[in-house]
């Protein structure tokens, strides 16, 4: 209960801070209701009555673009351009819409035309920014890297089913002492990403990263080095008129943790193959995830799970996500267990932006249930593992045009479990500063 009240009080404080900060910084709010489908319909109806109300037409373009309906934004801008074919701002924004849709040649055509129409200083700046992005898009190769520094705190580490564990019947069991404690952590990480978009719309991604964390706990101090490599491949697949995305990914992660006297190294391999069906309003994913985790004491945990996920945008700001999974875990003896679970969460996102920054507020409330039933003849015929968990989080992400991102995040977890030490309340917060290059 203490955690709940603590969370609520901090949540409120944080919310006030986040909204205040982003609202003060952003010059444009969506008080006009730009995210509302109902507003868009009303504006279109009004437009039928006032077909040459150009301010209204511009509003329609803005609302449509806010909703991700770039086609409809293009329709509105093209209509304005029938009347104002020599307006550079309209040309630039039309080019931006094409750019968002990946139509780089058409975007470039609009930007080239805009340059011939005497754009002002603001328009020239916007033009230069997007022309550079179009050149990158046309080349198909993007290279980015970032450095992140995170400072965080966790209220309850030892009673969570976290990290160092051994397998009993294919089920991970904590080897840490039964003791509650909190810790502060500082993590520095660097990430390099390379992306290739081919002319046939395939996308190949490679990412390498490294991080170092130092944990200062109420019971012990330790540090951890992590390294990882991820490879991904996506391509669109069409079955008659329906478009899907084939998604194949592989990742390797190595953790070297110095805890309780050189606890050792954790290796994690993961492979995913699946498909995605995505529209402006929903996303359905079906895939198979295979994970192989090498842990200290020679234990290995292999997990194969089929996952089905569905996300629906309920309104421009609210979405609901549901996910089910089922699979098998196997240890390196005869141990094995079935695992299955359900997760549901509601998400709220709100974006504010101005010329100098974007601010994105996300609030998420989720509930998940995970069950596993293990078989280990030598120890126990059946080891049941049940976890019920409620998670609430709020985050504020502010991206500055100079390449810095700031993120503040709060999360509260309430978990019931049959695991040893598996019942806990936990409260986490973190502040991250990232520099993109």
């Amino acid at each position: 209960m203490n955690t709940v009240s603590l969370f609520l009080s901090r949540f409120l404080l944080f919310f006030v801070f986040a909204v205040g900060a982003s609202g003060a910084a952003a010059q444009v709010s969506d008080t006009h209701g730009f995210y509302s489908e109902a507003v868009l319909k009303a504006k279109l109806a009004q437009l039928e009555r006032e077909p040459e109300n150009f301010d209204l037409l511009w509003e329609v373009a803005v609302i449509a673009s806010h909703q991700g309906a770039y086609d409809e934004a293009i329709t509105a801008l093209e209509r304005l351009l029938v009347y104002f074919p020599r307006d550079p701002k309209l040309r630039i924004e039309l080019g931006v819409m094409y750019f968002r849709l990946g139509s780089y040649n058409q975007a470039k055509r609009q930007f080239d035309l805009a340059r011939t129409l005497n754009p002002n200083a603001d328009e020239l700046r916007r033009l230069a920014r997007f022309e550079g992005a179009v050149r990158t898009g046309q080349s198909g190769v993007r290279f980015s890297n970032s450095v992140t520094l995170t400072f965080g705190h966790r209220s309850n580490i030892l009673t969570t089913a976290t990290g160092p564990s051994i397998l009993v019947g294919g089920v991970p069991v904590l080897i840490l002492p039964e003791q509650s404690g909190s810790f502060y952590s500082v993590t520095g990480s660097s990430k390099v990403t390379w992306t290739l978009d081919t002319p046939r719309a395939d996308r190949v991604t490679a990412r390498v990263w490294a991080s170092y964390s130092d944990f200062d706990g109420s019971f012990t101090d330790f540090d951890r080095q992590s390294y990882g490599l991820e490879l991904g491949y996506q391509r669109p697949v069409f079955l008659n008129f329906e478009g899907y995305a084939l998604d194949i990914r592989g990742a390797y992660r190595l953790d070297d943790t110095n805890l309780l006297g050189q606890l050792g190294t954790f290796d994690l391999w993961e492979a995913y193959v699946g498909g995605i069906k995505q529209t402006n309003y929903s996303r359905t994913s079906l895939g198979y995830v295979y994970t192989e985790a090498e842990q200290p004491f020679g234990s290995t945990l292999r997990t194969g799970v089929v996952r089905l996920s569905y996300a629906q945008r309920l309104s421009p700001r609210w979405s609901a996500v549901g996910e089910v999974y089922a699979g098998v875990q196997r240890g390196n003896s005869q141990a094995s267990s079935d695992v299955y679970g359900v997760e549901a969460r509601a998400e709220y996102s709100h974006r504010l932006f101005s010329g100098s920054l974007d601010a994105l507020t996300r609030v998420s409330l989720g509930y998940d249930v995970a069950d596993a039933r293990g078989v280990t003849p030598a120890i126990s015929p059946i080891i049941p593992l049940d976890i019920d968990r409620v998670t609430a989080s709020i985050s504020e992400e502010i991206s500055f045009n100079n390449g810095f991102d700031l993120r503040l995040r709060l999360q509260a977890i309430e978990q019931d479990s049959s695991l040893p030490n598996g019942e806990f309340d936990d409260f986490l917060w973190s502040i991250s500063l990232r520099k993109r290059f």
Binding site: P51, F84, R86, N105, R154, S185, Q329
Partner: protein, 275 residues
Amino acid sequence: MHRFLAVSAVISALAWPTAPVAQDSVGVVAGMQTQVIRGTRQMTVGDRIFQNDTVRTNQTGISQFQFSDRSSAKLGPNSSIQFSSDIVALAGREATIAVRMISGIARFTGSDSTKSNPIIVRTPNMALGVLGGVVDVSAANRANLLSGRMVCAVTGEQKFVRNPGFSCIVGPDGRLQVVKTPTNFAAVLDSTAVPNAGQATGANVGLSTGRFNAPDIDLRCGSDTSAQDQRCAVDFGGYPLPEGRSPFGRTTEVGPGETNNDLKINDDVIFNDNF
């Protein structure tokens, strides 16, 4: 079997006449320059368009038609289209809007509903389905995909095009070809020329050589240039998925300071999603 279905579908698009539909409005004239003519009558902005109407533009004319499903067509100079009620489906998908491209050039822009029920355009050479996105169509044997997807069909053959900058044409052997689009194709639809006063008519209420003083509100994402980055496409920004976003949200992300081993039974020490 697949080939049979394709052939049947194309037949339904090209050769299967159906009973004419009653005089339902399919849209309105949303914008125009100089002359847009239906029959012998000059049209004006706001005029309704009906099934089987044929409209044409003069040599300096440009017109945009807004359809009831929020898709649109922009008709270039010296061009003519007919809103056709006898084209009902392509490859098994019922059309929201169907037109015959008689001459000239036009730009068709889809809406959310056309992603499942396309705009169908029949040119003298082929039939096209515009599945969302934007397609430039010339009556002289070319359809260029600007964004989204399109399906091109001739009797016995159909091809999907999903890459912007590629066109469907019909080759000398009568077969469909997907080729790269010439740089200046359909440039007339993006002309910055303003007809002079002599060419303009009373319909050109707002026609201007100057600027439209747009309210100082940016379109989505502000100055964000990361087209398919998560900051620009909050949740459902379309395909492909935003960079770094897994199909299952946070659950299959593996990156610095995060892990998802053991099916989320094990949380990472701080957070398990990507930043």
